[in-house]
Subunit: 85 residues, 2 copies
Amino acid sequence: MPNYQANVSVRLRPSVLDPAGEATRAAAKRLGVDGIKKLRIGKSVSLELVAPNESEARKRVELLADRLLANPVIEDWTMELKPAP
Amino acid sequence: MPNYQANVSVRLRPSVLDPAGEATRAAAKRLGVDGIKKLRIGKSVSLELVAPNESEARKRVELLADRLLANPVIEDWTMELKPAP
């Protein structure tokens, strides 16, 4: 069965506060890096999987993202999938 | 000054164990999703910044990534930068 690589990017919804990001932004200022207007921290999950075909692989990763990787109440996710080299 | 959008993706180095990723992989199996061979969890930091030009913006984000966002002992990072629409 072919191999696929996927990357799921999980981000906090825009309406949700991100205290860790805000603290990092403040730390950037103390470090002397100016001009940072926004900074938000999300998760990036990289996967390798085997599946019979690309659409089945996509379905599996979507199920994982919905049920396991992201909390749909406060998070959005996007995915990229490609055949493994 | 122009606005830029940056995204810094921070990943554990391949030699570093990822217990959270391993636990998620086990949970995927229990959820009935088969074929996941690897699963690693990293950070994805999205930034908006103002800078006089693109190379200066890049320099600032690189400094942040090196000093603040990633731990170079155990993590690698990559960045993307583009002018904000």
